[in-house]
Structure formats: structure tokens, C-alpha cells
């Protein structure tokens, strides 16, 4: 209960809430980073602490999607929403733009990028616009203009990407949808897949497809736990009235396993999941369904649905240090600590300039670096 207890202690100290000055003597504060829109339509990268104190407000050229925290430096990266043409790496301690990375000619980003564990590189999913092929690139932060590595993702429309726990394998969600700008061109024939690539050679180690009947379940967002199990948030592109499972689980060497919520919950999820995150134990996964105003929870040890919590337009998710406890953000400016086992959520106290934001689809939670 790291976040919560610390915050509550501060709350009990009364006025400390209002100032919340960081002190060198205290453990590193917990920071939350996310892209967000203000009501005037501008796009920002926001970093705040868990007390609602704003640390960074960086203006972005276009709407962003994923946000990644650097492992060793006080930097966060905001990745442009697809079709994306920038990745801003920003220092949250001095608000300086460290890098604005742009795709090479004929390419665009797909909304997600991750730092390498040593912090020297950045992997990003891209589209090659001539061939329509999905690509994944590695850039060094020392010289980010040109990719050092550039692999095929073995699919169309690569979206979120992960590294395996040992760092040897890239896991890519090939959404399967061929796009022109934001127009979808191949909904009838789309073939989403989950691909595992060797980080050094780009060799395709394993690729999993859904059954033919389920080919319109786009594989877009996911998370991986220490066992290498991948939880997947699906988005259904078929008819509005179909009733498909919306979550999948994958273990290396096995077929994709579709997980279904109870009938009424599955329908409420409105065919659309936005984000997936494991908790700190790696056993419980949260999957948000923002169009259905629901966040669902799954027990991967038992391959089953656990429970759900209502959250209007709630999409962004992050694990806290405490098992089974998550943070969620919403398009309506709210952030919550979620306690699914207790069927309880607690709003974070946010000042007006933060609670009037529309938090975008993904958030990152990490300890501040000096």
C-alpha cells in the first residue's frame, strides 16, 4: 500500500497536502505521467505526483498516446498517436525537451515506444507507408535520427510492444488493420497477430493468430508479467451487435486463450478494451473498457474474470507497488486508486488544473529520479 499509505499520512498532516514540497530526506516520490488534452483542444504531456502536485506540463505538437518513463534518467517519452510523427523525450525536472524524434521519410509511428532496460535505446512500432508493412525500430538516444535496427513485425498495424522479462525478445501486438491516416482499409480481411521477435536479429520466434471466426478482434494493447505471460486487451471491429470475448492471454508455445467476462459485463464493455496492465504480483491484470465505463480485472493464474469497477471513460492504467492495486485515469479528468478485491476505488485529489484534463489512453507510474 505504498502510495496510498504515504498519501493518507500526508493527508492527516493537514496543510502538508497543500504544499507537499519534495524533501531530499524522503524516499523518491511516485510520479504519474500521461498525455492529456485541455478543453481548448491543446495536447500536453503531464507529469504529476500522487498528491496531485504538477511536475511537468509540456506542450505537444499533436495528440499523444503512450508514455514511457526512462529507467535511469528523469525523462519521460510521449509517443504521438497514430499516424504519429514525433516522440518527445522530456526531462521532468527542468521541463527541457531532450529529444524530438521523428520517423524517417515514408514512415510513421504507431503510438507506442519503450526504452531499453539500460536506458540507451528506444524501440518503437512504425508503419512503412509504401508497403503497409509493420516495422519495429531501435534507436540509440545518443543518435536517435536514424534507427540502428529496423525489423519487420510480421504483420500489419503494429501497436503496443513489450520486452520479455529477460530482455531477449520483443513482443509485438500486430493490430492487423491497414490504415491510411486514420481510415481503416481492410476490416473484412484483417489478420491480427501476436509476434515474438529476437531483439538482436529480428527473427520471428513465434506468432499467434486468432481463430478465423475471431479475426476481427484487433490485438492492440497488452502487458507482460515476470513469467512471460501476456495479457491482451482486444478491440472488436465487427458488427456492433456481436458478442465476442474481449480479453486474451498468451503463454509461449501455446495458442492464444480468449477470456470472456460474464455475459452482462461482456456486453457492457462495448466491444472495446483500451489498456491492459498487470499488478505488481503479475497475477492480477486490469483491462480497461472506456466506452463501457468499466475496468475489468482478471486472475491469470486461473484464466478467469475476477470483477469489475465502474469508471466513466476510464482508460489509462498503471500498477502500484502493492499487489492487486492499480491507478486509473479517465477522459473526464479523474484519477483513481483501484482496489478490485474490495470492490472499491478512491479518487485522487486533483486540483482544478489537473482535474479539468482529459487524460489520454495510457499512463505510466514510476519513482522520481533526481
Amino acid at each position: 500500500m505504498e502510495i496510498n499509505r504515504r498519501r493518507l499520512l500526508q493527508l492527516m498532516a493537514g496543510a502538508a497536502v497543500l504544499t507537499a514540497l519534495p524533501s531530499r530526506a524522503q524516499p523518491a516520490p511516485i510520479l504519474i505521467a500521461s498525455a492529456a488534452d485541455t478543453t481548448d483542444g491543446k495536447h500536453w504531456l503531464i507529469v504529476m505526483d500522487d498528491l496531485g502536485v504538477e511536475r511537468l506540463r509540456h506542450l505537444l505538437p499533436e495528440r499523444a498516446h503512450h508514455v514511457a518513463a526512462h529507467p535511469t534518467r528523469p525523462w519521460v517519452a510521449a509517443v504521438a498517436r497514430r499516424p504519429g510523427y514525433y516522440i518527445d523525450v522530456v526531462d521532468y525536472n527542468n521541463a527541457q525537451l531532450v529529444h524530438r524524434i521523428e520517423p524517417q521519410s515514408g514512415r510513421h509511428f504507431y503510438g507506442h515506444a519503450i526504452f531499453t532496460p539500460d536506458g540507451n535505446g528506444l524501440w518503437a512500432t512504425e508503419m512503412d507507408m509504401d508497403s503497409g508493412e509493420g516495422r519495429v525500430t531501435l534507436r540509440t538516444l545518443a543518435d536517435p535520427a536514424k534507427p540502428l535496427l529496423d525489423f519487420s513485425t510480421a504483420g500489419i498495424g503494429p501497436h503496443e510492444l513489450l520486452l520479455s522479462p529477460d530482455g531477449s525478445t520483443l513482443v509485438i501486438a500486430n493490430g492487423g488493420i491497414l490504415t491510411d491516416g486514420r481510415d481503416k482499409l481492410n476490416i473484412d480481411s484483417m489478420q491480427p497477430s501476436l509476434a515474438y521477435l529476437d531483439v538482436a536479429s529480428g527473427a520471428l520466434l513465434e506468432q499467434r493468430f486468432l481463430a478465423p471466426d475471431d479475426h476481427q478482434l484487433s490485438i492492440r494493447h497488452m502487458d507482460i508479467n515476470a513469467n512471460g505471460e501476456v495479457i491482451i486487451a482486444l478491440q472488436y471491429q465487427g458488427e456492433a451487435t456481436d458478442d465476442k470475448p474481449l480479453v486474451a492471454l498468451h503463454r509461449r508455445g501455446e495458442a492464444l486463450l480468449l477470456l470472456r467476462a460474464p455475459a452482462d459485463i461482456n456486453r457492457q464493455m462495448a466491444q472495446y478494451c483500451g489498456s491492459a496492465r498487470f499488478d505488481s504480483s503479475g497475477r492480477i491484470a486490469a483491462v480497461s473498457a472506456p466506452r463501457g465505463n468499466l475496468i475489468t480485472f482478471w486472475d491469470v493464474a486461473e484464466n478467469r474474470f475476477l470483477t469489475s469497477l465502474r469508471t466513466a471513460d476510464g482508460c489509462g492504467l498503471a500498477a502500484t507497488d502493492e499487489p492487486e492495486v492499480f491507478i486509473a485515469s479517465s477522459g473526464r479528468g479523474r484519477c483513481y486508486t483501484l482496489y478490485p478485491r474490495d470492490d472499491y476505488r478512491e479518487p485522487l485529489l486533483l486540483p482544478p488544473q489537473l482535474s479539468s484534463l482529459a487524460w489520454d489512453n495510457h499512463m505510466a507510474l514510476f519513482h522520481a529520479l533526481g
Binding site: L11, G333, D343, L349
Partner: protein, 370 residues
């Protein structure tokens, strides 16, 4: 409130929240939306907008069901015309309340069942053809509608039956055709009545419980989620009218239009439906004691209220002379339609600004996603 921590610390949280709000006023000089009486706004919208409009829809649909029954007893030109007239009135009533996309209309997927549109793959037409080929003794009863595709449960299927080629001779010669026409009319009446009853029974409760799950007393964004839902119901349809109901049909120019993409093109009610949508939005904006216009004036924004009022009026003035049929207007008034889409864009921007000035974060629109 099962969570032990919450129970023990609730008073602490409430106290901290009060300090926080006070601090917000002092430091940010920001009266926020506390001045708006949101419960009154919600209650008025229920009493003066939602309930009367659903009542009107239910009563028109009940007449439609009667007309459908009479039509099958004596299928002649006169009874067909009477049923078509009842269909248009029912459609018009539906278009006057279709902006509410939360609450009872979503139960049992009634929103999709009443009007499955847009139907990009012509599922309705295919389903209808297959249904008309069922054995002559097929019962079109509750059980049938329970199992049936949403595409043949409501207004679009009935429109095809009443306005399709050879409608009269088929009604006279094919018992299945006539019985299905009667049954769908009855089914629409049942759904309309069910929604009205549900709102009557549970409306107050729906307004009291926020769609966000409640328990938000500690959030600084002190606007009930249901108020945000209502504002969304006012603002969001404007973009839908412009993009889906007009621009998608207007194509790339007067020589490259798509008349069959229009809503209600068979009954030539496309523009009538748009007018009904806009009248509903206009009413919701004006309100009698607590509409958005009044909230803006209270907030010291009378010019904005006036500008929006004028924009509604301008669009209405330009739509009126074009008649009910979009197909006809595409041929004769393409430029006028183009200018109406521009005016709708202005209205959309103004409404979004208005909502912003009340510190309401509508979040991402319900079709947003990535």
C-alpha cells in the same frame, strides 16, 4: 464501503478535501463550477426534456402499432398512407430523443434495436430478405424478436417494408410481409413504451446515482457524472450530424454523392430527421429554467449564450427551405448543404467552448479510441 481503510479514514479525507477546495479558491481564484446548480439542471432536464420526449415517442409508436394492425386487416392505398404517416411521426419522435444514449434506452440493446444505423454492410436488407422467406406460419412474437437480429427489430426494417418497391402489392399478396410489418410496428411500440416506463420508474434514481459509480464526494471536479452525460448528449450529436448524416452522403462533390448512405433515404426523411435532432439539441440548450444557456448567463457569458442561440437559428433558417429529402437537396442545393455543414462546425466549436467555460470535461467522444 467494504474497504476497511476507507471506513476508518473517510472523515479525514472529507476534511482534507475541504481544505483543498478552499486552497483552490484562494490560490487559483477559480470559482469553478460550484456556482451551477447541477442537481437542479439534472432534474429539470429529466422533467422537461427526457420524460416528455420519451412519452411522445411512446405515444406515436403506439399509434404506429395501431396503424400497422389496420393495414394488415385492409391493405389498401389509404391504410398504407396512414401507416407511412404514423411511421414518419414515430421516426420524428425518435429523432427528437435519440441523443440520449445512456440509461434505459441501452437496456436490452434497445438503442440498436430501434434504429440500427449506419448499416454499412446492408445487414438489415439481407436479414429482412431472409426473414420474408421464412415459412408462412412463422410466428413474429416476443420469442422471435428476442432471437432476431437487431437490424430487423425497428425503424429501418419497417421503413424498407413500407417504402420498398411494390410495397402495396406485397402487403396485399404476401401474408408474411404484412404480418412482419405489423409485428415490427408493435415491437417498436413495446420498446418505446418500455423506455418511457423505465425512466418514469427509475429516472430520479438514475439522476441521483452518477453513471460514474458515485462516491465522488472527494473529487475536486464537483460535477455529477450524469450532468456530464447530459452535456455530452447535447454536444456530441452535432458532430455526428455533420460527419455521418451529411458529409458522408455528400461525398467529394455534387457529382460524387452517396444518397443511399443517408439515414431514412427511402422515406425521404433524412433532412426532417436532422431537423428533429437539432430541435432537440436547441431545446436542451435553451432549457426553461436551467438549460446550458442559463448556466452560461449565470456564469457571466451572455454573449456566448447568444452566439449559440443565433447559430442554432441560422442553421434552422437554412435547413427549413430544403424540405425533408436529402436526396433531392443533393441535386438542387448542394452548396446550401455545404454551408450548413460549415455552420454545424461552428456550432460544434461554440458548444464545446461553452461546456469548457463551465469547467466540464466531456472527455473523448464515444467513438474515440486507438
Amino acid at each position: 464501503m467494504k474497504h476497511a481503510i476507507n471506513t476508518s479514514l473517510l472523515p479525514t479525507l472529507a476534511g482534507a478535501s475541504a481544505i483543498f477546495l478552499l486552497a483552490g479558491v484562494i490560490h487559483i481564484n477559480h470559482a469553478a463550477a460550484q456556482s451551477a446548480d447541477w442537481p437542479a439542471y439534472n432534474a429539470e432536464t429529466l422533467q422537461e426534456d427526457i420524460l416528455p420526449r420519451y412519452q411522445h415517442f411512446a405515444s406515436e409508436a403506439s399509434e404506429l402499432a395501431d396503424a400497422g394492425t389496420a393495414l394488415c386487416q385492409k391493405p389498401d392505398v389509404q391504410s398504407l398512407e396512414q401507416t407511412r404517416a404514423a411511421f414518419r411521426s414515430t421516426l420524428n419522435a425518435w429523432q427528437g430523443i435519440s441523443h440520449i444514449q445512456f440509461g434505459p434506452v441501452t437496456y436490452l440493446m434497445r438503442n440498436y434495436s430501434i434504429e440500427f444505423w449506419p448499416d454499412r454492410k446492408s445487414i438489415g436488407r439481407k436479414q429482412l430478405r431472409a426473414t420474408l422467406e421464412l415459412p408462412a406460419d412463422t410466428a413474429f412474437d416476443d420469442e422471435f424478436f428476442h432471437q432476431a437480429s437487431v437490424s430487423i427489430k425497428g425503424l429501418p426494417a419497417l421503413e424498407q417494408l413500407l417504402y420498398g418497391p411494390d410495397a402495396l402489392s406485397r402487403l396485399q399478396q404476401e401474408t408474411t410481409y404484412c404480418r412482419l410489418t405489423q409485428a415490427i410496428s408493435g415491437n417498436i411500440a413495446d420498446m418505446a413504451n418500455g423506455i418511457y416506463q423505465d425512466w418514469q420508474k427509475n429516472g430520479e434514481q438514475l439522476l441521483a446515482a452518477s453513471s460514474d459509480g458515485g462516491e465522488d464526494e472527494t473529487s475536486s471536479a464537483d460535477i455529477p457524472a450524469i450532468s456530464t452525460d447530459l452535456m455530452k448528449s447535447l454536444v456530441e450529436p452535432i458532430e455526428l450530424i455533420r460527419d455521418t448524416k451529411l458529409l458522408a452522403v455528400m461525398g467529394k462533390g455534387p457529382d460524387a454523392t452517396y444518397p443511399h448512405r443517408a439515414e431514412n433515404w427511402m422515406s425521404e426523411q433524412s433532412l426532417a430527421s436532422i431537423r428533429a435532432n437539432l430541435d432537440a439539441a436547441h431545446d436542451m440548450f435553451t432549457g426553461s429554467t436551467a438549460g446550458l444557456a442559463q448556466l452560461l448567463r449565470q456564469r457571466g457569458e451572455p454573449d456566448m449564450a447568444k452566439a449559440i442561440e443565433q447559430q442554432f437559428q441560422l442553421i434552422d433558417d437554412h435547413l427549413e427551405p430544403l424540405g425533408d429529402s436529402l436526396t433531392a437537396a443533393l441535386d438542387n442545393h448542394y452548396e446550401a448543404l455545404k454551408s450548413i455543414t460549415d455552420s454545424l462546425k461552428v456550432l460544434d466549436v461554440l458548444l464545446n467552448k461553452a461546456v469548457q467555460s463551465l469547467d466540464i470535461q466531456l472527455g473523448f467522444n464515444s467513438r474515440d479510441g486507438d
